[in-house]
Subunit: 337 residues, 2 copies
DNA sequence: CTGAAAGCGCTAACAC
DNA sequence: GTGTTAGCGCTTTCAG
């Protein structure tokens, strides 16, 4: 196999301790000895075995990350943030995809623990408290990211969803849209983040003496937006809605596709706003006006929190809130004049 | 810390070897001893330390994967394929993103070797032979995936690009398109896969007594397609082109965006075909007609090859070719009548 | 400054 | 069947 510390020691005619010392800069070594060791390392192309090192130091320099599906662009962005920050501190990432299976998530937690990861970040889309309970008992630093559900008492990083939705309402009002429709996702609303979003939306509409109209559909994917197009269109027509605000970019895009396929133009005939700012939002035509959830930053901040905890600092807040941003693009028409 | 094999042995009143035997099913153990060990494991919540295990068995059960950017949807699909197959054989993935830096790729190879990964898969978009040379010297199983460049003598998995482009020409001809424009990427063509694609395109057009028109642009991203829109449009008009075939979906989408922004409709005014079938291709409107590069399968097959090699089998072929498929959607108009 | 030695948690001969 | 023991490659006391 490849050279070990012993080989280096022998070649350099020093003890393995000395070799270890020069590798780690852990203790003073005479210039002469260091020179010989360095030369031996170079000659042998020696690279320390991280596995052996981990065994003794108990530091794997590995962070486990369990994602729902890396194929989701927002998930990929989060992972980028995690990795980039991890990289700065010499942490590597081991990636597991659960595809929405709670059982898989549970299994991966265990598997990652066996691999001695020093922290775990979960990017999930399911509703469960089991995961949080389960991982807590291993007392490893972890952060739980879920763009849909609101799992209480779990360290997480998010945005202020209530502020975000009210911001959109204000913007829409300013452009002359007073008959709005909010398309939410028909789940037990107390468990999902929709709770805050609907709240923010409702309050904002009410504060302008408006009439908050909400429509619930059965899902949050592109297909769901498309398949519920008829239902949504119906609500639009019955209520003279001029702008529809979708709780996810995916729904917005599915809806626009439906409208497009049915000869209705966005934003000419109807304005549409999304939520998330997934990567397709800016590529799609019309470019989608939406609320930016800063996925990369969410990942980066999550990783920073893990790192802090690894270093023994107890992070103060359980949930970190990042600033929200409204991205104004092309899917909303100004009808104020 | 958490329980070790010693703790289990003590609690079960057997030796650590016996515990090891029941964990690994490596040798017969009396029912009674097994029962006690199992109980002790359960009581202690014992989970073997994979790091320690790896050190002695020399099996990390880790596959390193270096990607250009996981944010690219096709890359994510490849990774999905890799992970899914790996999972079947208890292999985990450690992910590194190079963002197009050769230096980073080189550094990651070394880093992964130190982590004792049993194989490496690289999903790159740069042109280099250094990587291949470098990794070869570690003699670890590896596969090199590059959708742009044609790195000779490196194990890889791809599709038959020449067949693919000629297939598109045939299809276009059948729908009445005889004045085609192929948009390629303006790089030293001998190094890129465009070599095969242009060849397939040219041969097919020539065989139908056509006049192969090719336009080279400076890049292969969405922006490049957009920014070269004017140039491409110019070529279209000068040559009465009815269908343009882009060497990447990204270019096709950028181009369609440009045309859309300039009031030209696809496919009504001009037909467009892409290459790749990235995930946005089917979401975008009009849905993009394109050549499917089976990314998931490419990842899966790459992983299978690695696994084979780990098991001592010497895979026969250096480059595996997967079947190509033409995905007929909406961006091409039938003008044959 | 340097080497000898213990030991991280586990597997795999090797005896019994 | 089962226990003892020798490492895997490395870090880290502890003497000197």
């Amino acid at each position: 196999m490849s050279a070990t510390i012993k080989d280096v020691a022998k070649l350099a005619e020093v003890s393995i301790s000395t070799v270890s010392r020069v590798i780690n800069d852990s203790k003073p070594v005479s210039p002469e000895a260091r020179r010989r060791v360095l030369k031996a390392i170079d000659d042998l192309g020696y690279k320390p075995n991280e596995i052996a090192r981990s065994l003794v130091t108990k530091k794997s320099n590995l962070i486990g990350i369990i994602v729902d599906d890396i194929g989701n662009s927002y998930v990929a962005q989060i992972v980028r943030g995690i990795e980039e920050i991890g990289r700065m501190y010499k942490y590597d990432i081991v990636l597991c995809s659960s595809y929405g299976s709670e059982e898989a998530e549970l299994r991966f937690i265990q598997l990652l623990m066996q691999k001695q990861v020093e922290g775990i970040i979960i990017v999930s889309e399911i509703e469960t408290t089991k995961i949080a309970d389960n991982i807590s008992k291993y007392k490893v630093p972890f952060v739980y990211l879920n763009r849909l559900y609101n799992i209480s008492k779990t360290p997480t990083v998010t945005i202020d969803n209530e502020v975000a939705t009210s911001m959109v309402v204000d913007y829409l009002n300013k452009l002359g849209h007073n008959n709005l429709l909010y398309v939410t996702w028909n789940k037990n609303i107390d468990l999902t983040i929709e709770k805050y979003k609907v709240q923010g939306y409702t309050d904002a509409v009410l504060s302008k003496d408006g009439f908050p109209l909400v429509s619930g559909i059965d899902g949050y994917k592109i297909d769901d937006g498309y398949n519920n197009g008829e239902k949504i269109l119906d609500a639009i027509q019955k209520n003279n809605v001029t702008a529809v605000f979708c709780c996810q970019d995916e729904i917005a895009i599915g809806l626009i596709n439906y409208l497009y396929d049915n000869g209705i133009k966005v934003p000419e005939d109807i304005s549409v706003v999304g939520y998330g700012d997934i990567s397709i939002a800016s590529i799609y035509r019309p470019k989608l006006t939406t609320v930016k959830e800063p996925y990369y930053d969410i990942g980066a901040v999550a990783m920073r929190r893990i790192l802090k905890e690894i270093n023994g600092e107890i992070p103060d807040e359980r949930t970190l809130k990042l600033p929200v941003q409204l991205i104004k693009r092309e899917s909303v028409k100004d009808i104020s004049k």
